[in-house]
């Protein structure tokens, strides 16, 4: 038992290290504060409006009702009017992350490559590292680290959770049911290959809570190219779903159509709810995806 614990800790350290390596080259993330809601936790970035904070925002003419202590005398001395020095409102944002850990995510077509789950975990943590460095709060949905927190401890907790393998994992993952911090942002890493109803219900529910975010569909090359031929019995990772074909090659067109259709629905859902959508292949560099995510969360794209 203790050995298993040690292994998990070991895995966690390596995962953390990889994540920091990938994220290290990016500047700290300053997430846009546009949709920052009533959350009051102070964060390290301004919200481009006057409020409580330490950074100078603007001088404004003193209005009746302003307290005298707020007057900036140095500025006021240069004219006949009284001026008040306002600070920028700084607050931390909550980003909820979900990395699908279903069995389907374990798939990798190239034995020497990375599985989709590996990639999802790496991106999750890398993004978390960036966010925490920028002072944001992160939450890992569906795990022990679901409570939004900031700081090294949270990162460590997330890394431990991600490195740990959950028991009785389902064949396909569905977006978590739990409540996402309203007004925050969310990033969902999954292959979105599960049953249509489960997935899109979950996505819609997440969008309902005034949460905007990103769907990252992580796919394997084989899932896009469908390089099979001959008589094949396809089965899901747990073997629950089976499908037998006489000639796999002949099904390629139909399969690709369905894949495109599923993506279209995903993108449609995203568009309707104001989310964004990224398709990431495990053969691509994770840095590209992270760069894009950085832009997406920062609201720059």
């Amino acid at each position: 038992m203790s050995k298993a614990q040690a292994d998990i800790a070991h895995d966690a350290i390596w995962l953390r290290r990889d994540a920091e390596k990938v994220g290290g080259a990016l500047p700290p993330l300053l997430a846009s504060a546009e949709r920052l809601a009533a959350s009051v936790a102070m964060g390290g970035h301004g919200r481009k409006r006057a409020g409580t904070g330490e950074t100078f925002w603007q001088y404004r003419r003193a209005m009746p009702g302003d307290v005298m202590t707020a007057v900036d005398w140095r500025r006021s001395a240069r004219s006949d009017k009284l001026y008040i020095r306002e600070m920028e409102w700084e607050a931390a944002q909550t980003v909820s992350l979900w990395a699908d850990d279903a069995l389907a995510m374990d798939y990798k077509s190239d034995p020497s490559g990375r599985s989709k789950a590996d990639r999802a975990k790496l991106l999750t943590l890398a993004l978390s590292v960036l966010l925490v460095k920028a002072g944001e709060r992160v939450a890992l949905l569906g795990t022990d680290a679901a409570q939004p927190r900031s700081g090294e401890t949270q990162l460590r907790r997330m890394a431990m959770t991600l490195a740990q393998e959950r028991e009785d994992r389902p064949d396909y993952g569905a977006p978590p049911q739990e409540r996402i911090t309203p007004g925050g942002r969310a990033v969902f890493f999954s292959d979105f290959m599960g049953p249509k109803d489960e997935i899109f219900d979950g996505l819609a529910r997440a969008a309902e809570h005034n949460v905007s975010g990103v769907f990252v569909q992580i796919v394997d090359e084989a899932e896009e190219a469908f390089p099979f031929d001959g008589r094949v019995i396809f089965e899901s990772m747990a073997g629950v779903v089976q499908f037998e074909t006489q000639r796999a090659k002949a099904l390629k067109e139909a399969y690709l159509d369905r894949l495109a259709e599923r993506r279209a629905i995903l993108q449609d859902t995203a568009r309707r709810t104001g989310w964004q959508c990224l398709i990431h292949r495990t053969s691509q560099s994770p840095r590209q995806a992270l760069l894009w995510l950085y832009g997406a969360i920062g609201g720059q794209i």
Binding site: A25, L26, P27, P28, L30, A104, M105, Y107, S109, D110, P111, K116, Y172, D191, M193, G194, P195, D220, E221, A222, E223, E224, A225, F226, P227, F228, D229, G230, R231, V232, I233, F234, E235, S236, M237, G239, V241, Q242, F243, E244, T245, Q246, R247, A248, K249, A250, L251, A254, Y255, R258, L259, R262, R281, S283, Q288, L291, W292, G298, Q300
Partner: protein, 925 residues
């Protein structure tokens, strides 16, 4: 045993298993390959799909064939197939094995022995008794003795070929006395001899005959002869119907150190139908005289060696006359007859005695020379002492000189009497004297004396106790005509008559030449015939064995001269070198008359065989390996048919194609197809980058230009298509308005031709953006970074005008956007452009009046391509700067790109003063 042609099966009953093959066929056809099971998360997307086509359920025919073939091979293999099986020899009874054993058998003697051993082996196994006889050996005195084969087997190694031909006729005659019935195996040399017909008839009468002979032609080396200053020899062959490769013939002789060396080499090339080919050795006299034999290279046979004898030797003969001859009196010249006799066969030297002795002659002939005095005499005596032959002819001068009259002269064989004698003249009694037949002790013994030879005058020898033994020829009254004696190792010989026809008619007769010949003064220019050698005994000094090796003759008996030339070599007279007196004759296997004829006229009943007996060869291992190989192939094929061979690993190509599809722009035009490239580049605007050979750099360059192309398309009227890569060595550059050239440390310096193209490109209005991409390493130009140094090396051969850091008012700052800096991924390092002409800045004017010149190069280190680079989905590939500043910097990088391309396209349009007011207004705030 079951045999089909040269194939036999040792276990034929196993072949019945082949019957099962059709059953197998039926069984295999009925079983389709099992489906493969694959885990695949995308299976949910597949649910509900129906198969548009079905996989053939039955095994494909070629796979069936493969399996059936493998099995059939296995069955055949276990039936023990054997190639060239030894047929059982069922014959019984005595067996006669005859080998020709002649020189012609020598080249492949080991094959013959092996074949003979094989015959003996089989005879032994069948319990046959054997008599073995070599036809060139003497006939066995005890008659045919059929014995156990094993006892012959032991003797076999001791048998070697003889240097003469097989005596088949004699054997046939001898065989008539023998009373036995037997089968015969005749290992023949393939050459015809005289007694062939008798021989074959004799053998055919006793039982079956098997003839083993070689299909190849037998080669023989003819005796060398001398013609026109060259040594000629011919190579003979026995058959002209088989192609014969050119034969190398070597002339071998002793070098001055006494070692055998190859003195010359020649190629004999046979004309298609010719039975003989001539070879020619053109050698200097010294080498020619040393030739001891001529042989065919690489052929070990007595027939391939031709020994040379005196016939090839040309002696150097110095002739000295007592008085100078007068030209118009040739026939009475003292030297005329000597010259005529010797010229064809010797090299004559006519000079003063001193010069002659300097030339180291073999023979010196004095024609009527009186006294030799002084130093010449001492040298001449010395020369004779050391082996020279001095041949003197008498004459009036000798007679008058009184030489050797009072005491014995070392240069004369006998003492002479004062005065001579004259017979048969007008003032003398008696008839001219004729010659007495030569005595047996004389070197001239055997020569016939013509009757018309008469002597009218001569010098007389002083009667002496040892005169008789010095007389070599005498007149009929007993007076010596030719006398001679040894002097040291040399000889002195005196003809008591003149060398011309003054004193005798001897020089007019053929005898004169023959006598000179016998004295070894002249070499024969013709082959000696039996008559010439009649009565002489020639002793062999070295003989050839069957393989053509020369060895000492030992105690072999001498041979009569007539026999030597008229009879072919035999056991009694083996080929070799024979000697009589000072002369040598070579007896060669191949004489001038010899013709090599192939053995013909074999009776129809004779079984003919060659030497190349195919070995028994078991096919079992081969077939098993083949069957196993086919089964291995079957494994692969089965995997292929069931789709397991092409697993999901083989997808790289597919994904790449998909990525290419996802690209919004038409993807890279192949630079390889130069025509297509030219067409593309001339009909569209194309940005191009220089291939550096570093794939990562090239990839970034391309992605960067794609990014820039996207921006240009979106924002400006310049609408380039997808960028292309340019290979400086191969591609035409003239089509491209702009080249992006990232500098890498490991880049190859372009060739001369490429530089010529580049310079032409720059002169004709092209622009190159050099990017060292190392501003983060402090890489301002000239700061000595590796890439910077590389750029210096690259640009050294380029025709680049003077450069300066882009001034603030450079047209690049305002061709489209108004810029102050030219950032890429790195910012705030200057870029270098062509230096502007020195024009005064006017106060109040932001720009100088620079109307001309588009800079041909722009050099910088800001890594623009990386800042521009976008991936297939249009997302930036590299982070630039930090946060929103970074975005701004990327934007400025794009603006620089736009400005640069605008500058390329529109030149100095924006430095036109017409725009100044508008620009001033925009800059004014």
């Amino acid at each position: 045993m079951l045999s089909i042609g040269s194939l036999a099966f040792l276990t034929p009953w196993l072949l019945t298993a082949l019957v099962t093959l059709p059953i197998l066929w039926w069984l295999l056809r009925a079983i389709p390959p099992a489906p493969a099971k694959r885990a695949f998360p995308g299976v949910r997307l597949l649910l509900g799909l129906t198969d548009p086509e079905r996989m053939p359920e039955r095994t494909p025919w070629w796979l069936l064939l493969l399996r059936i073939l493998a099995l059939a091979l296995a069955v055949l293999a276990f039936a023990n197939p054997v190639l060239n099986p030894r047929s059982a020899d069922l014959a019984r009874g005595p067996l006669l094995v005859v080998l020709d054993g002649s020189w012609a058998s020598a080249p492949n003697w080991q094959d013959r022995l092996a074949r003979t051993a094989d015959v003996l082996d089989r005879a032994g196994r069948n319990g046959r008794t054997v008599h073995l006889h070599v036809l060139s050996d003497p006939l066995p005195p005890e008659g045919l003795s059929f014995r156990d084969a094993a006892s012959w087997q032991q003797r076999l190694e001791g048998i070697s070929p003889n240097a003469w031909s097989a005596t088949r006729g004699e054997f046939a005659t001898w065989l008539t006395d023998q009373d036995a019935e037997f089968d015969t195996v005749w290992i023949s040399d393939g050459l015809a001899t005289d007694g062939d017909a008798d021989f074959m008839a004799a053998l055919a009468g006793r039982g079956t005959v098997t003839v083993v002979q070689d299909a190849r032609a037998t080669l023989g080396m003819g005796a060398p002869r001398f013609e026109d200053g060259k040594v000629l020899a011919s190579v003979l062959r026995s058959r002209s119907d088989v192609a014969q490769a050119p034969v190398t013939v070597s002339a071998i002789g002793l070098d001055p150190n006494g070692l055998e060396r190859k003195l010359g080499e020649a190629q004999a090339i046979f004309e298609p139908d010719a039975l003989a080919a001539e070879v020619e050795f053109d050698l200097p006299v010294e080498l020619r005289n040393r030739i001891t034999r001529i042989s065919i290279d690489g052929l070990r046979s007595a027939g391939a060696v031709a020994l040379s004898d005196d016939g090839l030797k040309r002696r150097k003969i110095g002739i000295v006359a007592g008085r100078a001859s007068r030209e118009e009196q040739n026939l009475i010249s003292p030297l005329h007859y000597l010259r005529t006799a010797l010229e064809p066969s010797a090299d004559l030297i006519e000079a003063t005695l001193g010069d002659i002795l300097n030339a180291a002659p073999d023979v010196v002939i004095f024609a009527d020379v009186g006294t030799v005095a002084g130093e010449d005499r001492i040298r001449l005596e010395d020369w004779v002492e050391k082996g020279g032959l001095l041949l003197r002819f008498a004459g009036p001068r000798l007679a008058q000189s009184g030489e050797g009259q009072l005491q014995e002269d070392p240069l004369l064989p006998v003492r002479l009497r004062a005065g001579g004698r004259s017979v048969g003249g007008a003032l003398s009694w008696g008839a001219p004297k004729t010659l007495r037949p030569f005595p047996e002790s004389s070197p001239f013994f055997g020569l016939s004396v013509p009757e018309d030879v008469a002597v009218t005058s001569q010098v007389m020898a002083q009667p002496d106790p040892n005169l008789p033994e010095r007389v070599m020829a005498a007149l009929e009254d007993g007076t010596p005509l030719v006398t001679g004696r040894a002097q040291g190792t040399g000889r002195v010989i005196l003809f008591h008559v003149t060398a011309n026809a003054d004193w005798s008619s001897l020089p007019l007769s053929g005898l004169f030449v023959q006598m000179l010949d016998r004295l070894a003064v002249s070499a024969r220019s013709f082959a000696p015939d039996a008559e010439d050698l009649e009565g002489e005994t020639w002793v062999p000094i070295s003989v050839l064995d069957g393989f053509g090796t020369l060895s000492d003759a030992g105690l072999l008996a001498g041979v009569d001269g007539a026999d030597l030339v008229s009879n072919p070599p035999s056991a009694l007279q083996p080929p070799g070198l024979y000697e009589a007196g000072d002369r040598q004759i070579a007896s060669n296997v191949i004489s001038a008359e010899t013709e090599l004829a192939p053995l013909q006229g074999l009776p129809a009943g004779f079984v003919q065989e060659g030497f190349d007996v195919a070995e028994e060869f078991s096919l079992k291992p081969l077939m098993l390996v083949l069957a196993f190989g086919l089964l291995m192939l079957d494994v692969l094929a089965t995997l292929f048919v069931s789709g397991r061979l092409t697993g999901p690993r083989v997808v790289a190509g597919g994904t790449a194609a998909l990525l290419a599809l996802a690209l919004t722009l038409p993807q890279e035009a192949s630079a390889q197809d130069s025509d297509a490239l030219a067409q593309l580049a001339t009909t569209q605007t194309v940005l191009a980058y220089v291939q550096t050979g570093d794939s990562r750099t090239d990839q970034i360059s391309e992605a960067g230009l794609i990014g820039l192309t996207l921006v240009l398309n979106r924002r400006t009227a310049i609408e380039p298509v997808a960028p292309v890569a340019v290979d400086l060595e191969r591609d035409e550059l003239a089509f491209f308005p702009f080249l992006y050239w990232p500098v890498t440390e490991l880049q190859e310096i372009p060739s001369e031709a490429a530089y010529a193209k580049l310079n032409m490109y720059l002169r004709n209005g092209g622009m190159i953006l050099f990017d060292t991409r190392d501003a983060h390493l402090g890489g301002t130009l000239g700061s000595g970074t590796p890439n910077g140094r590389m750029l210096q090396r690259l640009a050294a051969n380029l025709d680049i005008p003077p450069l300066e850091p882009a001034p603030e008012d450079h047209v690049l700052t305002r061709t489209f956007y108004l810029l102050q800096d030219f950032p890429g991924r790195y910012a705030r390092t200057p870029i270098w452009v062509e230096a502007a002409p020195d024009i005064e800045e006017v106060d109040g004017m932001p720009f100088r009046n620079l109307n001309d010149g588009v800079t041909p190069v722009v050099m910088g280190s800001n890594d623009w391509a990386a800042a521009w680079a976008v991936d297939a989905d249009g997302r930036a590939m590299f982070p630039v700067g930090r946060g929103s500043n970074g975005s701004r910097q990327r934007e400025l990088a794009y603006r620089f790109g736009v400005n640069l391309i605008m500058h390329v396209m529109t030149g100095n349009y924006k430095s036109d003063q017409v725009h100044v007011p508008a620009l001033l207004e925009r800059l004014g705030q």
